[in-house]
């Protein structure tokens, strides 16, 4: 690829070049800008999905359903003690009833101001809330691990349920994955649009320089010599446009990143980009340039093959 940029000056003059003079670099800049944004979105969703999934995959919740609060508390403590003794378990935490009430408060229409209200208290008293035990396992909670946990708890609390935490957030993960693939699909569509723009540009350039190409051909110039000139021209256009697109795209990503951080809530906060995501984003203009060059070469070689 490097040889493209070291074509001697006199050869380069065969096809006049003008930097940023035609629409091509600007079209590529816009395409790369959009590709950078779409790539960053896809990568951010992928990382968010992975982070959440990683965090929850080794977690499970034990629900002890028992109408009698005293028996429920006893069963919860017994179950917690049994679980603490298991090699599979890394961490066990019995959620205090205040925390459980806090968790369900938003669904009951409770506000912070109402929490001391006697009416609200009596409403919570009327609801038979289960006891919850939050578990962290030493490995992801698969079918086998869940069966082990159920078998351990069943003799202590007949109606206990063991649920993997990842199951609770599965629809969200599925949505995040869909958004991720939509973003990557957009990148593919933009790449195709870029290739189409390059084809049009290469054909126009071929048409403009038809006479010169004809002369070079008749003087013994090869298709490769001629296509290199166009490849170089389009590669430089793509590189300039790509860098411009990358700079603008990166600025927008950083700005959005700051705004998302300020929101500070759950899944949104996990929408970050790791160093390797930044590497991929940085490679977008290079990939765009390579795509433009290959497309230009194929277009020019195809057109030259049609003439003798």
């Amino acid at each position: 690829m490097l040889s493209l940029f070291v074509i001697p000056g006199h050869d380069r003059r065969l096809i006049p070049e003008g930097r940023l003079s035609g629409p091509m670099p600007w079209v590529i800049a816009i395409m790369i800008f959009l590709m950078v944004l779409a790539t960053a979105t896809g990568l951010a969703f992928a990382e968010a999905g992975r982070n959440v999934s990683d965090q929850l995959s080794s977690r499970a919740t034990v629900q002890i359903i028992q109408a009698n609060p005293d028996i429920k508390a006893q069963q919860a403590n017994d179950a917690a003690a049994r679980l603490r003794g298991m090699a599979l378990i890394e961490e066990v935490r019995v959620l205090p009833s205040e925390e459980i009430e806090e968790l369900i408060a938003p669904w009951l229409g409770q506000t912070a101001e109402m929490q001391n209200n006697s009416e609200a208290d009596s409403l919570l008293d009327d609801i038979p809330l289960p006891a919850l035990i939050d578990l962290k396992l030493i490995r992801p909670a698969g079918k086998k691990e869940l069966e082990q946990l159920r078998a351990a708890i069943k003799p202590l609390a007949e109606g206990a349920r063991v649920e993997p935490s990842s199951g609770l957030i599965a629809p969200v993960i599925s949505l995040v994955q869909s958004l991720q693939w939509i973003a990557f699909g957009l990148v593919a569509l933009l790449a195709m649009a870029t290739a189409a723009a390059v084809i049009i540009s290469a054909r126009a350039a071929l048409n403009t320089h038809k006479e010169t190409i004809g002369v070079i051909h008749l003087l013994g110039g090869t298709d490769r010599q001629i296509s290199r000139l166009f490849q170089r021209r389009i590669a430089l256009d793509a590189l300039l446009g790509g860098l411009l697109g990358l700079i603008c795209g990166t600025a927008i990503i950083l700005l959005l990143g700051m705004q998302l951080s300020a929101l500070g809530s759950g899944l949104v906060q996990s929408l970050g980009l790791s160093w390797y995501s930044w590497l991929i984003i940085g490679a977008v203009p290079i990939l765009g340039m390579t795509l433009a060059m290959v497309t230009a070469r194929m277009t020019v070689m195809g057109a030259l093959r049609k003439i003798l």
Binding site: V215, H217, G220, D223
Partner: protein, 236 residues
């Protein structure tokens, strides 16, 4: 003597039209000088296009440098084209290149290093009387000057065959004689020269040259035995 060009029953048709050239059979020998004459529209330029590999014939056999030029693969054509110098009727200079760069073009296409081409190109510019116009673009040159650049470009690579389409059409008689002298000099060095012209007076300027006359797309002597009518120079 081995033939450098051999045509056997060659016909050329553009699209679905009538044949522009038909049943051409002749042989050209290395180091010979040929004039191709004929009225306008007789097919001179079409015949030259076949010679400099800008066109393939519709039928017949063409052998060039001992190889079949009709079925030759596209990949091999550039190598053969580099052995042929062409002076186009419309010059075909590259408009954005200087006279120097236009003349240097065949050498650069052939991969000659920059340091090795400066002297021959400068000498060629001097020879065609354009030493002081090296940096001039074609648009700023007169028709005659452009033609001289075109001729210099055709001969700079010391081709084995030089094909010239009306090379003296835009130059004054004195320059025409000088150009023919250049062609003769190249011919003496072994280059086969084919000059298409409708100027019958030119024929008398090159003693020993042979003539091919085209009439309505065919050779006037269909046997392919070329006539040798030019008069010795002192009788011209």
């Amino acid at each position: 003597m081995n033939e450098i060009v051999q045509f056997e029953n060659v016909g050329l048709r553009y699209g679905a039209g009538v044949e522009t050239l038909s049943d051409l059979s002749f042989t050209l020998y290395p180091g010979s000088f040929y004039f191709l004459t004929g009225a306008s529209g007789a097919g001179k330029t079409s015949l030259l296009k076949l010679l400099y590999l800008a066109q393939r014939p519709s039928r017949g056999l063409i052998r060039l440098f001992g190889e079949d030029a009709v079925t030759m693969s596209r990949e091999r054509l550039p190598g053969f084209r580099r052995r042929i110098g062409v002076v186009f009727q419309d010059f075909r200079l590259v408009p954005h290149l200087s006279a120097f760069d236009n003349i240097a073009l065949p050498l650069r296409v052939s991969g000659v290093k920059e340091k090795d081409l400066t002297t021959p190109v400068a000498e060629m510019l001097d020879w065609v009387g354009l030493g002081d116009r090296a940096e001039a673009r074609p648009a700023t040159l007169s028709g005659g000057e452009q033609q001289r650049v075109a001729i210099a470009r055709a001969v700079i690579g010391r081709p084995e065959i030089l094909v010239a389409d009306e090379p003296t059409g835009n130059v004054d008689p004195e320059m025409a004689v000088r150009l023919l002298q250049l062609f003769e000099a190249l011919n003496t060095l072994g280059t086969t020269i084919v000059v298409a012209t409708h100027d019958i007076h030119l024929l008398s300027k090159v003693p020993g040259a042979q003539m091919m006359k085209l009439e309505k797309g065919g050779l006037s002597d269909p046997t392919g035995s070329l006539r040798n009518p030019p008069l010795p120079r002192d009788r011209a």
